[in-house]
């Protein structure tokens, strides 16, 4: 008697589709919950992925071969930082440094032909040019021979801000800072924003470090920028440089940031963010699953009589269970597909609005669709099993 073959798949699918079609409006409403859940999982995974890619790109622009040293004061000391450091001895002490330069920062108004703009005044050593990867549009950068001159190199955006239509800032023009006129010897190309750099070159005026006293009574070195030769161990250079700089300082520490560490930290952070988004998607998916369960329970109670008839015709418990389970899964599968399309569209739209490059996250589709199907299965099991447990005579009885 147990020589029964399973119901054929085509028959099962045929019935599930007929049933869902006749379920009509209610299954569409349940579908809506599933679509929202599934699409938010897909969209959020993808948006998180794109955000991480974008963040990583910002740092990559700057290059992972650059180190930035800061000099926080020791303890409660308020002794000002030194005005110059012996960088050549550092270069000799640490092999693998390609360029090393120091910055002292001040900000103040710059006047050109009666127009005033606030800008970063950056006292630079000549090697800053290479250490910060500055690219000249016109003229030249400051050299060691300019130490005593009132020469300046101007950033692209600052030059545009000081210029006016018909009166652009050109090489050889002079800009005024306090009572000093500085001769523009170079104009920088537009630089990409470098997140780790203490100054944005576009908005800065570079002047010789030795001349900072002209605009600011007590200039201090705020940062040292180091660029390593290719293929160096950045951690080692950071350590050795800190060790080489420390003897020159009495009241300050040396704190060197390795960009790779920051990129790693940023990636970790964006991953945490992505998990958070994923959890949100999962919660909405569970909400959708409850909707499916609701529809299926209604469906089962409305079709009690049908269940009784099917049992009288010879359906086993597992046939009834499969019937309703397949309906729940078919419902969620349709929802998962719609959700995948909608989620991808939302992620693309978000990337477009944020000005990111859209990249498909590998995990987004399988994870979104797969988790949705699992939710359908999970929330479909209870109604299906409760349908299959009905006694034929009770199911057939008129309400």
């Amino acid at each position: 008697m147990s020589l029964r073959v399973e119901q054929s798949l085509s028959q099962l699918l045929h019935e599930a589709f007929i049933s869902l079609r006749t379920l009509g409006k209610r299954s569409i409403l349940a579908l809506l919950g599933i679509v929202i859940g599934s699409s938010s999982v897909v969209a959020l995974i993808n948006i998180g992925h794109n955000a991480a890619v974008d963040a990583a790109m910002i740092f990559k622009d700057m290059g992972t071969d650059t180190l930035v040293a800061q000099f926080p004061p020791k303890g409660g000391s308020n002794v000002p930082m030194r005005t110059r450091l012996d960088l050549d001895s550092v270069r000799l002490a640490v092999p693998g440094i390609a360029h090393i330069g120091a910055l002292s920062l001040f900000s103040g108004p710059i006047v050109f032909h009666g127009r005033t703009t606030n800008a970063n005044l950056v006292g630079s050593t000549p090697d800053i040019h290479a250490a910060m990867r500055l690219v000249m549009r016109e003229g030249r950068f400051l050299s060691a021979f300019d130490a005593n001159e009132t020469y300046a190199v101007i950033g692209d955006q600052l030059a545009q801000a000081l210029g006016a239509p018909g009166d652009p800032l050109k090489l050889g023009d002079r800009v005024r800072i306090n009572d000093y006129l500085f001769l523009i010897v170079g104009i920088l190309h537009n630089q990409p924003r470098a997140m780790l750099m203490p100054v944005q070159a576009n908005e800065s005026l570079f002047i010789p470090a030795e001349g900072m006293r002209r605009v600011y009574a007590s200039p201090q070195i705020s940062n040292v920028i180091i660029r390593a030769a290719p293929g160096q161990d950045m951690e080692r250079i950071a350590r050795d440089t800190a060790a080489a700089l420390q003897p020159q300082l009495t009241e300050h520490d040396v704190d060197i940031t390795v960009p790779q560490q920051m990129i790693d930290g940023m990636t970790r952070q964006s991953r945490t963010f992505a998990y958070l988004l994923l959890a949100l998607g999962a919660i909405s998916l569970v909400g959708g699953g409850v909707g499916v369960m609701n529809v299926m329970l209604m469906n089962v109670s409305e079709r009690r009589r049908e269940i009784g008839i099917r049992m009288a015709l010879g359906a086993r418990q597992r046939d009834i269970r499969n019937l309703f389970l397949l309906e729940a899964v078919t419902l969620t599968a349709v929802g998962a597909l719609c959700g995948a399309v909608l989620g991808m569209t939302a992620a693309w739209l978000y990337a477009w609005l944020s000005g990111w490059a859209f990249a498909l996250a590998v995990a987004a589709l399988p994870l979104g669709v797969g988790s949705t199907l699992l939710v359908g299965l999970f929330f479909g099991i209870y109604p299906a099993v409760s349908a299959s447990r009905l006694q034929p005579v009770e199911a057939l009885r008129d309400e």
Binding site: V5, S8, Q11, S19, A312, Q317
Partner: protein, 235 residues
Amino acid sequence: MMTQTPAHPDLISLQGIGKRYQLAGQELSILNDVCLSIASGDSCGILGASGSGKSTLLNILGLLDLPNCGQYHFAGHDIFKASPDELAAIRNRQIGFVFQSFNLLPRLSALDNVALPLSYRGVSRHESVEQAQRMLEQVGLAERAHHRPADLSGGQRQRVAIARALVGKPSVILADEPTGNLDSSTAQEIMDLLLTLNREQQVTLIIVTHDAHIAERLERKILVRNGVVHEAERL
């Protein structure tokens, strides 16, 4: 396929069957010590007033309900020892149900309704639809195969239900007031159809009815009164 134990040559054999329900804390006895045997090819009417227990008897006969005590052998199977799956298989292969309210599935076409019992045997969809079509031809509804039950008249619906009961080639047809919802001329046609099947294909026919005219046309009359079963004189 099925081995019949020689101890029970009858298709259906009930001995000392009792059925009780718990209702509002009170024990309600529906059937008492029912002994009945029905041989293959019989046509029986089960008669009785409403509330006499005749529907419960039919449910027990059709394996939709289990009795509380007694012995029931169906085609050699001990019903008390059968698993739910085995009971489902016996219903599927041996019993065809015809209900008073037709009990067709409203979502499915007449053809799909008739094909349904075959799908629970693992018959492929193509083949079961073919057999269902042949069965609909036999009850004279070939051209209505793709109509939904709602688009059919009462008599046509009952024919579809009979086709569904017959498609699995059962040994018994259990009919619960099959003509109860039909007008008298349609009722006549349905009874003719059932009796022809009984005569020509030796299908055992068990009909629950309270209509004496229908009972007249059957070989055996089983009277149910207050949960007790008597058999009237055979014709």
